[in-house]
């Protein structure tokens, strides 16, 4: 999508909804927005029908700010709470069958690469822990083994939120859930370890405590996926309904869980590390050059 595509024909703009005009004049497209700018520009997503205080919605909002080229991004999702918000974003959203995200994204990314040789198109999978670690597990793993160049973001609320509180593979051992009446019998799945084993270029574990860090991590993951290989972000996005977290305490919970067992952790493959170091150097050089000109 270029500015040409977004801008309405002369004389037509005033008849478009204000909402659309704002997206063109002061929107998130064609320039990287910062978390510090939140509240001062028209965001890609503004409304959602998810539960009040749901940490997942905060995280999704930040993803829409962080994506490095929103106008050339397609998001793949699936059944689960997250898609209720993601579909409200002004970015194409593929709503597949439950658990098919990483296989759909494979076909989509390869197809876009065939059609757009000179314009990188970013494909980002964003789905729940059940969608990625349980029903979509084989598709996730194989997209990693095949080194498909897209980012997978797990919205890990450690439960099947959308169907009302059943345990997923990402639920902690011992938790009593709707389909684990005597407590879940096995450990939380180590998806980060599996990602590393499968050769994922960059992984990150993150909680919803630090918006700038979330934005930087998302950006990093998408840029590395574009150039190097698959990337994976596992984000703790609590379900305040099923875990009975009072709405005002959602961020406190995120801090506690982060301190206890969900600390920020990154992993780079050698190739991803050297790509990232190089591109950081290049960005610094460009910033310096820009300053000089000023």
């Amino acid at each position: 999508m270029s500015l040409k595509t977004i801008r309405p024909a002369t004389g037509f703009k005033e008849y478009l909804p204000k909402e659309y005009q704002d997206l063109i004049d002061d929107g998130p497209f064609l320039r990287q927005r910062k978390v510090s700018e939140l509240g001062s520009f028209k965001e890609a997503i503004e409304e959602h029908p998810m539960c009040a205080g749901c940490a997942m919605t905060l995280f999704i909002r930040l993803v829409f700010v962080a994506l490095p080229s929103l106008e050339h991004t397609v998001i793949c999702g699936t059944a689960g709470c997250g898609r209720l918000a993601i579909t409200q974003g002004a970015v194409p959203f593929v709503y597949g069958n439950y658990g098919d995200t990483n296989a759909v994204a494979t076909g989509l990314k390869r197809g876009l690469d065939i059609r757009f040789k000179d314009q990188p198109k970013d494909v980002v999978v964003m789905a729940g822990d059940g969608g990625l670690a349980d029903i979509g597990f084989h598709a996730v793993m194989h997209s990693w083994f095949r080194k498909e160049k897209f980012t997978t973001i797990m919205l890990d609320n450690e439960v099947y939120g959308n169907t009302g509180g059943q345990d997923s593979g990402m639920t902690q051992k011992g938790m009593v859930m709707k389909m684990a009446p005597t407590g879940k019998k096995f450990e939380k799945m180590d998806m980060l370890g599996l990602a590393k084993t499968a050769g994922v270029a960059y992984t990150a574990r993150i909680s919803t405590t630090n918006p700038t860090r979330i934005a930087n991590t998302i950006r990093k993951a998408v840029l590395i996926a574009r150039e190097v290989g698959p990337t994976f972000i596992q984000a703790y996005t609590s379900c305040n309904i099923e875990y009975a977290i009072p709405t005002p305490k959602v961020i406190d919970d995120a801090r506690d869980v982060e301190k206890d067992r969900y600390g920020f952790a990154e992993y780079f493959s050698d190739e991803a590390q050297s790509y990232w170091d190089e591109s950081e150097k290049e960005r610094k050089r460009l910033r310096k050059a820009a300053k000089k000109i000023k």
């Binding site: 890609a44 579909t87 974003g89 709503y95 597949g96 069958n97 076909g107 065939i114």
Partner: protein
């Protein structure tokens, strides 16, 4: 790696020479490629016929997963990729993954192909039946075999019955010739703006895929025009459209009357698109049905390999002085209701031989025509059995 293995691998890599193979092909009008181009006959297997079809189909990406009796075809398609005829090709993780990736590729706007059989079709079914609702043009080749269990790989086309209510177009080929022609026609019909639907081309496994038959084909230096994805019923998922806060895939997320109405209208539209496909199928298939001996008192109605057996039965019956005709149904979806009604108007007896236990074609015909007491819903063979023409002739005479 030994030197000769290395050389072999390198020789399979895409050719550098821009004047051979794919690069030498020129795009021609579909009417020319399908109907007009001069053809030569070759004696080849069904798998080879499918390969030659794909060679001329200007496919962007093919996604493969092995299953007998399909594997050979997608291997051959892999060679086409190695020769530069196809831009991308890979073996998927299994059929759910493959059919999902087909959906992704179609949304990206490229021409996509896959193939499967029996248990593979069953495994991929959740994805396959969601393609029409996604309005995703694509090509699925189905080489019918027994559906588990007990496990068997023998020919049996019961799996087609699972595709009947999907909303996708379903063609059933009789022989190697059809397996060359139908995919090319299917791609063009499915991608028409007023159709925008996936197409499945089914043939009966082994009888068609592994046996040889005469196939007439135009030269290999011509191909179909590429997919024109911006002239279809829905926008592409390539982010080249003006931004809107609604996704093409899921306008129907709420539980209220507006969303019920939307879903209902969406479903009606898929089946209306099937009706609109008839015009193009008629043009390129030469009609949804073929009639042999129109006006005969006894009519055999069949699809797929049963048609060939029906043809032979007609020949033998005619030799004996019996008045027997045949209707070949080429398109199962859309179903040729009007055509059948007309072609069977005069018939006193209708015999429907099938290669499956449930008799799905007989049920379809019964639902389409009047005076259904004329129908003899058989003979049927299944589980790998062949259908001797005597069986059809006996069925005809037993009911005298």
């Amino acid at each position: 790696m030994s030197q000769d293995v290395k050389e072999k691998m390198e020789s399979k890599a895409k050719p550098e020479d821009a004047k051979t193979g794919a690069a030498a092909q020129r795009v021609v009008d579909p009417d020319y490629l399908i109907l007009e181009a001069p053809r030569k006959k070759e004696f080849i297997t069904g798998s080879e016929a499918a390969k030659e079809s794909v060679r001329r189909a200007n496919v962007d990406i093919a996604i493969a997963y092995p299953i007998t009796p399909q594997s050979e075809t997608m291997q051959q398609v892999g060679y086409l990729y190695a020769e530069g005829y196809i831009k991308d090709y890979y073996r998927g993780e299994e059929e759910i993954g493959v059919m999902s990736a087909v959906a992704g590729a179609s949304r990206a706007g490229v021409r996509v192909l896959t193939a499967t059989a029996g248990p593979g079709l069953m495994r991929g079914l959740e994805q396959i039946v969601s393609w029409p609702g996604g309005r995703l043009p694509s090509m699925l080749l189905v080489m019918c075999r027994v559906v588990n269990a007990p496990l068997a790989i023998q020919p049996d086309n019961i799996e087609i019955s699972y595709l009947l209510n999907s909303g996708g177009i379903v063609l059933h080929g009789e022989n190697q010739q059809d397996f060359y022609d139908y995919p090319l026609i299917g791609f063009m019909v499915g991608e028409k703006p007023e159709v925008t639907l996936p197409v499945a081309v089914a043939v009966d496994g082994f009888f068609v895929t592994h046996a040889r038959g005469w196939v007439s084909m135009p030269a290999e230096d011509i191909k179909l025009p590429p997919r024109d994805c911006y002239h279809e019923a829905v926008p592409m998922m390539d982010n080249e459209n003006p931004p809107i806060r609604i996704s093409r895939d899921s306008p129907i997320q709420k539980s209220n009357f507006i969303s019920y109405q939307m879903h209902a209208a969406w479903q009606q539209e898929i089946w209306a698109a099937q009706e609109r496909a008839k015009k193009w199928l008629n043009r390129w298939l030469g009609g949804l049905i073929e009639v042999v001996n129109p006006g005969a008192k006894t009519m055999i109605v069949a699809s797929g390999a049963a048609v060939s057996q029906g043809r032979e039965a007609v020949r033998q019956a005619t030799e004996k002085g019996l008045d027997v005709g045949l209707i070949k149904i080429k398109s199962i979806r859309p179903f040729p209701t009007e055509e059948l009604t007309e072609a069977l108007e005069h018939a006193e007896k209708i015999v429907i031989p099938e290669f499956n236990y449930v008799g799905w074609l007989a049920k379809e015909v019964k639902a389409a025509i009047d005076r259904t007491d004329r129908i003899i819903a058989g003979p049927r063979v299944f589980g790998g059995m062949t259908m001797p023409t005597e069986l059809i002739l006996e069925t005809i005479s037993a009911s005298e």
